[in-house]
C-alpha cells in the first residue's frame, strides 16, 4: 500500500482501441497507479468512475466505436498529483457549454451526467481541441486535498 505523503512516481501510456473493453482497461490502469500511490478507497472509487466516464466519451462520442480510430491514454503520478489524459480522434466537443443535468428540466434526462460526475469527483478537469482533430481531456486528483 502506497503512502500519499510520499507517492510512488509512475507513468503509463497506451494507445487503445475504440471499444468498451478499452474503457475497462483504462480504468484498471488508472486504478493501479492510484492504488500504488496510496490513494484511499473513497478516492479510488472517484478516480475509477471519472476515468471510466471520460473513456466512454472518447470511445462512444468521440471515436464512435470506429475501429480505425484510437484513444491515447496516459496516467501519471508525481509528488503532488495523479494526472490522466485521454485523447480521441473525433470531431471535437464543446465542453464549455453543456446542459446542467441538475436543472428541473434536465433532471429526468437519461443521459448527460458524465462530465458533471467527472468534475464532481476530480480536483481539476479541462478539455482542449487537438490539431488536426480530436479532443484531449485532462483529469487531476491531488495527493493532498485542497
Amino acid at each position: 500500500m502506497g503512502d500519499l505523503s510520499r507517492p510512488r512516481p509512475e507513468s503509463v501510456e497506451r494507445s487503445l482501441d475504440s471499444t468498451l473493453e478499452s474503457v475497462d482497461q483504462a480504468e484498471d490502469l488508472a486504478l493501479g497507479v492510484a492504488r500504488r500511490a496510496g490513494f484511499d478507497e473513497e478516492d479510488l472509487i472517484k478516480i475509477g468512475l471519472a476515468v471510466r466516464e471520460s473513456m466512454v466519451n472518447a470511445v462512444v462520442h468521440g471515436n464512435r466505436y470506429n475501429t480505425n480510430k484510437k484513444v491515447r491514454f496516459s496516467v501519471s503520478m508525481n509528488a503532488s498529483r495523479l494526472t490522466v489524459r485521454i485523447a480521441d480522434e473525433g470531431e471535437g466537443f464543446d465542453y464549455a457549454h453543456l446542459p446542467d443535468p441538475l436543472t428541473p428540466e434536465n433532471l429526468l434526462r437519461t443521459s448527460g451526467r458524465g462530465i458533471f460526475l467527472i468534475r464532481s469527483f476530480m480536483d481539476d478537469f479541462h478539455a482542449r481541441r487537438l490539431e488536426p482533430g480530436g479532443t484531449e481531456v485532462t483529469l487531476v486528483k491531488f495527493a493532498v486535498s485542497k
Binding site: 468498451l20 474503457v23 472509487i45 468512475l49 471510466r52 466516464e53 466512454v56 462512444v60 443535468p101 441538475l102 433532471l107 429526468l108 434526462r109 437519461t110 443521459s111 451526467r113 458524465g114 458533471f116 460526475l117 464532481s120
Partner: protein, 114 residues
C-alpha cells in the same frame, strides 16, 4: 462481471434482484430490456433491489431514470431498495435521490406500494 438480474413475485409486486455492474454496454442494456419487458406485460409495481450492485456509472443511472419514467408513464410505480453507499452517493450528487422512492427494508418497500 456484468449484471445478473433475477425476478421474483411478492404478492403483486415484482422484485428484481440486481447484482453486479450496471455500466454502459451489457449491464445497462440488460436492465433496460428487463424493465421494458415488465411494462409490456402490464406489471405495475416494480421494486429494484440494488443491494448487490457493485458498480454503477452514468449510463446505469440513466437506465434507472429511463425505467422510472417508463414505468411511471404507464401508470405504474418503480421503487428502489438497499442502496449501497456508492449508489446512494451518486443519486444524491445527481439530485435523483429524492426523485426515487428509496427503501432500506423489503417488507416496508412492499407495503409502500399503493
Amino acid at each position: 462481471m456484468s449484471v445478473k438480474l433475477s425476478t421474483r413475485q411478492v404478492g403483486d409486486v415484482a422484485v428484481i434482484d440486481v447484482a453486479g455492474r450496471i455500466t454502459l454496454g451489457e449491464g445497462s442494456s440488460a436492465l433496460r430490456e428487463n424493465l421494458r419487458d415488465m411494462v409490456s406485460k402490464n406489471q405495475k409495481k416494480i421494486l429494484l433491489n440494488l443491494g448487490e450492485v457493485s458498480y454503477i456509472d452514468s449510463s446505469g443511472i440513466g437506465e434507472l431514470v429511463s425505467g422510472f419514467t417508463t414505468v411511471t408513464n404507464s401508470g405504474g410505480q418503480l421503487k428502489l431498495l438497499n442502496l449501497n453507499k456508492r449508489v446512494k452517493d451518486l443519486l444524491q450528487i445527481t439530485k435523483l435521490y429524492t426523485v426515487f422512492d428509496v427503501h432500506e427494508d423489503e417488507a416496508g418497500a412492499i407495503r409502500s406500494f399503493a
